[in-house]
Amino acid sequence: MADRITRDDVAHVARLARLALSDFELDRFTEQLGAVLDHAADVAALDLADVEPTAHPIPLVNVFRDDVARPGLDRAEVLAQAPAVEDGRFRVPQILGEEP
């Protein structure tokens, strides 16, 4: 059985998920996630050592399509949806820490 989720845990997962939380939100989410995880304690407490996990409801096999060229999405139509574009590509702010 895992310990109750802490404010630091919530701050950590928020960072991993690229979400910024205010102090007020951190307090509230810690409490709300704690309540949901308390409810999940019934599952966490089960002894299921002999049970196989199921990740998917139907047996999945690799599906191959015929190796035939077909048109993809229209490039201009796709780029028209982007917040910023340059030279036919997606434009983003700087990735590494160097001076711009």
Binding site: V13, A17, L33, A44, P57, Q94
Partner: protein
Amino acid sequence: MSTAADIARAVRAGERSAREVLDAHLEVIDTREGEIHAFNLVLADEARAAADEIDRRVAAGDDPGPLAGVPVALKDNLCTRGIPTTCSSRILDGWRPPYDATVVERLAAAGAVTVGKTNLDEFAMGSSTENSAFGPTRNPRDPERVPGGSSGGSAAAVAAGFAPIALGSDTGGSIRQPAALCGVVGVKPTYGLVSRYGLVAFASSLDQIGPFSATVEDSALLLEVIAGHDPLDSTSIPEPVPPLVAALGEGVESLRVGLITELLGEGISPDVADRVRAAATTLEAAGAVVGEASVPAAGFGLSAYYLIAPAEASSNLARYDGVRYGLRVDAPTVAEMNEATRTAGFGDEVKRRIMLGTYALSAGYYDAYYGKALKVRTLIMRDFAAAYEQFDLLISPTSPTTAFRLGDKSEDPLSMYLNDVCTIPTNLAGHPAMSVPFGTGDAGLPVGVQVLAPALGETTMFRAAAVLEASAPTLEERSR
């Protein structure tokens, strides 16, 4: 208002024009949409053009298809080419998908006319449609109450007569629960029966698209149109669609029907449980053999679901990064831009689920939470398999209560999650289930009875639904 089956018959026969049918529905929308807010977007001009085209084809001797001239409402997490698709989230601000979902193509090929995109809980996460960035939808049976969710806009659109049929998506009950609360029919098909190409992903091992309608026949008709193998969805089942409409009148003589005992006790409102027992009596009177069924692990379904679905969502929603489409909040570096965009773009419930899922998958907690939840999924599938050795169908409530008031549960996520206790086990097992309106509870609000079947058992499920519908009390508008 006419049923979809009647409309299609009349339009194909040239007795009614698709345009006249559409205009009648647009008039109802004009009258009541301001109060209900079922739609994020009404596509009046596009729909008129589509209806006129159907009429031209009929005049030219063509058959536009089994849904000729039938207005349909689409949940706004289904991609429509060139038409905004928002998932009721600010993060998809301004996005116009470059392709249609397979179901959207199939509807058009069957002659249906899309009237609009319906409101939902953001990214289909919720049970009341209050988690929409564009404001809540109200229940047409009582506008002080929620329509259920997450496909609340689609359920409300059908209940209000805005369209005879609608599509929703169901990950943990998001079609069936709003259908029950709004007094309409709602179907979650077998996992893989309907292509999800172009459905914005929430929890990929659970999501399934399905119909809403006022009548059982219309849901059968709509499901026949949208079901069937699609090479663009790797989880699509490569088998023929089971016959639905043709089997509707076959009755339930000597079918074995089990009442799920675990879903009739604690936590289920007595007025709802009474209607489910009345449904069992109705099926028995029609010749079914009714007994008590047990799905012991169903009680753990809710906890397992609220670990599995957020875990999958945390991965699926990682794609909203402000780079390729939708919202971008500018910042000096990519990492800061990602964070600023996601923080501004997602609502609280989506943030909660992303964090819950990230936590359940993180080092040190994976085995205790996500790993255990996957094993519970195995237990639920085993229990269903055992129950279906004794029974052809199972029945239960769809929702533990009738429609609740707006604001009643929106501040307490766990109490909201408990709405899904009866619908979740089906999704975890990948089975079909549907909600059929079966009279009203204490406050005169609709009650839905859930009919569950084993994988690809839709034909039998619809037969039982038709029997229930035939003896269900008529729903009346509540006096307000």
